[in-house]
């Protein structure tokens, strides 16, 4: 299972060239051991970052990665997703786009055999990994204003049909979600893609006390999802929801454990970039949940061992901060750690995909309840309450907020967040366009770290 190098290597962040060197030590059998959809013929994915860089992911030349075999496996799997989705269609699987709800509808989809849910909006990282404005420019040509959130890349991807296959179904959630994305979904609709629109309510109260009827609305929406899926697959077996929920919970608890281990360890055992990738994996398992679960198990083991040995990837004196709103540019996570900071709390607006789903109530109700925890459907105050707790007990020494120009909730929330977190230094930065990180921005982050020190 493990090659010698991986057993002896000290945990550290390494670059693409280092990975290429270490990859030469990976045995052929090991490469063949991991494959998606249990398909060894075309399903291998244990490739070094160089593979994906050659295929156009230019930022990989500048990123630093964790050096464990588990992380190598994770990156190979994550970067392989586009191919995997096309292969899924070629294998006769149904590919279902679930847009806007971030974490719940896929659990329903996965109750149907051979159905693969995915989130087209996750394409928003692609312009940054590629250091390319191709998708953003295409979106502008298709009518999206220039000053719109980077998730507009999704529309371009639908238009080009080169980043994921044409979905067999699209479920689009609107309502108390993100405006920009609701508009994008409407334009996708206008490209000729049919979609079932789902309405998600604004929670209004906190995530414990909201009107019961909201749960009922969601349940009725999930029934509509179910019926549409039954229409597509001609399968109507709701018992499939139970293992699907269990699997989602297994993933959620693993991800939570990895986060807690990482946050609490004296020396950070896993970099923030890998940790963010794991968090977002909760949404749909990067289009192969079984394999993703296996990968996350492996990362969990790696992290646990590192914690046990008291070793990690950052210096012990790294300063703990929280991160609010995910960065579209992965390089920022590297930069923050390079400046001597470590991430010990996040609010990536996907809370609904992180919380456990109840297993002792009717499945749709359980899913509705988990969705009602969503950050996006509540108030800013609710959204950052966990970060405030971290600040109160002095676990969090500072907060970094990333904004996207044209992102409606960023525009309205950031000043408020700064005010609400006034007890610690808060650095609010705008994520620049792809390949746009400047020395000035690096200096701001470094100065922020210096302030905290």
């Amino acid at each position: 299972m493990k090659s010698t190098w991986f057993e002896v290597a000290r945990p550290q962040k390494i670059d693409l060239n280092d990975w290429s060197q270490h990859f030469r030590l990976v045995r052929d059998e090991q490469i063949k051991e991991f494959n998606y959809y249990h398909n060894p013929e075309w399903g291998i994915y244990l490739s070094p970052p160089a593979t994906f860089m050659v295929y156009g992911a230019r930022e990989l030349k500048r990123l630093k990665f964790d050096n464990s075999l588990a992380s190598l496996r994770m990156w190979g799997f994550v970067f392989n997703e586009s191919e995997r989705l096309f292969r899924a269609k070629q294998m006769g699987k149904r590919v279902i786009a679930t847009m806007g709800d971030l974490g719940t509808v896929p659990v329903i989809i996965m109750a149907f055999p051979n159905c693969i849910p995915f989130y087209p909006e996750c394409i928003w990282w692609t312009p940054f990994f590629k250091e390319s404005t191709v998708l953003l420019d295409t979106a502008t040509e298709l009518g999206i204003p220039e000053a719109a959130c980077f998730s507009k890349a999704t529309l371009a991807a639908f238009h080009k049909k080169a980043y994921f296959p044409k979905p067999d179904l699209i479920f689009a959630s609107t309502g108390a979600s993100c405006d920009d994305y609701s508009c994008i979904m409407q334009l996708v609709n206008d490209l000729g893609y049919e979609m079932l629109w789902l309405e998600i309510p604004f929670r209004r109260h906190n995530d414990e006390q909201y009107p019961d009827r909201f749960e009922e609305y969601l349940i009725s929406e999930y029934e509509r999802v179910w019926n549409k899926m039954v229409e597509l697959t001609v399968i109507n077996d709701k018992t499939g929801l139970i293992p699907s929920i269990k699997k989602a919970n297994r993933l959620r608890s693993l991800a939570e454990r990895i986060k807690q281990l990482t946050y609490e360890a004296p020396i950070t055992p896993l970099p923030a970039l890998e940790l963010m990738t794991i968090e977002f994996g909760n949404l749909y398992g990067y289009a192969d949940l079984d394999e993703w679960l296996d990968i996350v198990e492996m990362i969990n083991e790696t992290v646990a061992k590192r914690v046990e040995k008291g070793i990690g990837v950052l210096k012990q004196n790294a300063i703990p901060i929280a991160w609010i709103t995910p960065s579209a540019d992965p390089l920022l996570l590297n930069l923050v750690e390079d400046c001597g900071l470590r991430i010990v709390g996040t609010e990536y607006v996907i809370n609904q995909a992180l919380v456990p789903i109840e297993e002792n109530v009717e499945p749709f109700r359980a899913l509705a309840r988990s969705f009602m925890k969503a950050s996006l459907i509540g108030s800013t105050q609710e959204r950052i309450k966990r970060i405030i707790e971290g600040v109160k007990n002095e676990r969090i020494k500072g907060v970094l907020v990333t904004n996207m120009l044209g992102c409606s909730h960023c525009a309205m929330e950031t000043r408020l967040i700064e005010k609400m977190l006034s007890k610690v230094p808060v650095l609010s930065i705008d994520v620049p366009v792809p390949f746009g990180i400047t020395e000035q921005l690096r200096t701001r982050i470094a100065a922020f770290a210096e302030t905290l020190r």
Binding site: Q186, P201, F202, S408, M412, R415
Partner: protein, 325 residues
């Protein structure tokens, strides 16, 4: 405290008025208020939202409450800011976003309950009936004016009409409405897009130097005329507000386009003015479609409400009018 502020065309004014407070539509677009608003939100927020926020902050004592909807993200999140920075009670309801009336109907029930608590007053069918009559009468008066605006040739200008409807939006519906007729043979156009704020009347005046705006789908002007309450009850309110021509944000939004298409045809419009505010996703994302679907010349006017580019705009409008003529 005499006002209940509100931000969205799905907010039933009759219900707000039933509390005894005056419904006051937040439609401010003034640089001073924007600057005030920018103390609490980023500059890349919608100027109308920033301005409204600034207005409320500067006039907190006037407001008994502010009611909003989930209509657009920024307007919705303004309530988080108000909650944090003021003591004004805020109420935010889910407005219709797909074709399911249930959520909206239940939300109006909830809002009625909250407003009863706020005003400490039972909102019964008698009170509601009175308010429905009062507001329906007002709308009828404005409808008659709107017919003059829509007639061919148009008999009143939209700039004048806008000045008149400000009273409705500000809850002043008792007084008489007088608009001098002023026949226009200029090219007939339709106006749609982001709300025209109170302070943006000058834009309408500028447009009508060369054009005749004979109809609009605009929350700041005549959209309220689509509310037609047939049953004098809370249920009647719900049905009327739910069934108004849909917001561009309702998904899917084909019915919105169908409604506008019919209007443009009936009003014999030769062109469209698409007025958008900076960062107004609902219209900015749709501009290309608007041009394509209606197959009419579209003049796009984007504004940050600073009105610094009026002379440039005047030239563009003139060129557009020339093209239509």
């Amino acid at each position: 405290m005499e006002l209940i502020g509100y931000t969205c065309s799905y907010t039933p004014v009759e219900l707000l008025a039933a509390t005894g407070f005056k419904p006051y539509r937040l439609l401010h677009g003034n640089v001073g208020f924007i600057t005030l608003g920018e103390k609490s939100v980023r500059v890349d927020a919608c100027p109308l939202v920033k301005s409204n926020l600034g207005y409320i902050m500067a006039n907190q004592k006037k407001f008994a409450a502010v009611v909003g909807s989930t209509g657009c993200d920024m307007a919705r999140r303004m309530f988080d800011v108000l909650k944090e920075l003021t003591n004004i009670p805020v109420y935010l309801f889910n407005n219709p976003r797909t074709d399911k009336p249930t959520i909206f109907y239940d939300e109006i029930d909830w809002l009625a309950g909250e407003l009863e608590c706020l005003s400490n007053k039972k909102i019964n069918s008698e009170i509601l009936g009175t308010e429905i009559d009062r507001w329906e009468n007002a709308r009828n008066r404005y409808r008659r004016l709107d017919q003059k605006r829509a007639s061919n040739p148009s008999l009143i200008s939209t700039a004048d009409f806008h000045r008149a409807v400000m009273n409705y939006h500000k809850g002043e519906i008792g007084s008489a409405i007088n608009i001098n007729e002023n026949q226009s043979d200029k090219p007939r156009i339709y106006l749609l897009g982001s709300s025209i704020p109170y302070e943006a009347n000058q834009i309408l005046e500028l447009l009508e130097l060369d054009l005749a705006i004979v109809g609009d789908f605009n929350c700041g002007i005549s959209r309220f005329l689509n509310i037609n309450i047939k049953e004098k009850s809370l249920n009647g309110i719900k049905v009327a507000y739910y069934n108004q021509p849909p917001c561009i944000f309702k998904r899917p939004n084909q019915p919105f386009y169908e409604f506008i298409g019919t209007q443009i045809k009936e009003l014999e419009c030769k062109g469209i003015i698409a007025w958008t505010l900076d960062y107004c996703d609902s219209y900015e994302f749709e501009l290309k479609r608007i041009g394509r679907i209606f197959e009419l010349p579209v003049l796009r006017i984007r504004s940050d409400l600073s009105f610094q580019n009026l002379s440039q705009l005047k030239t563009r409008i003139g060129a557009f009018a020339e093209m239509l003529a």
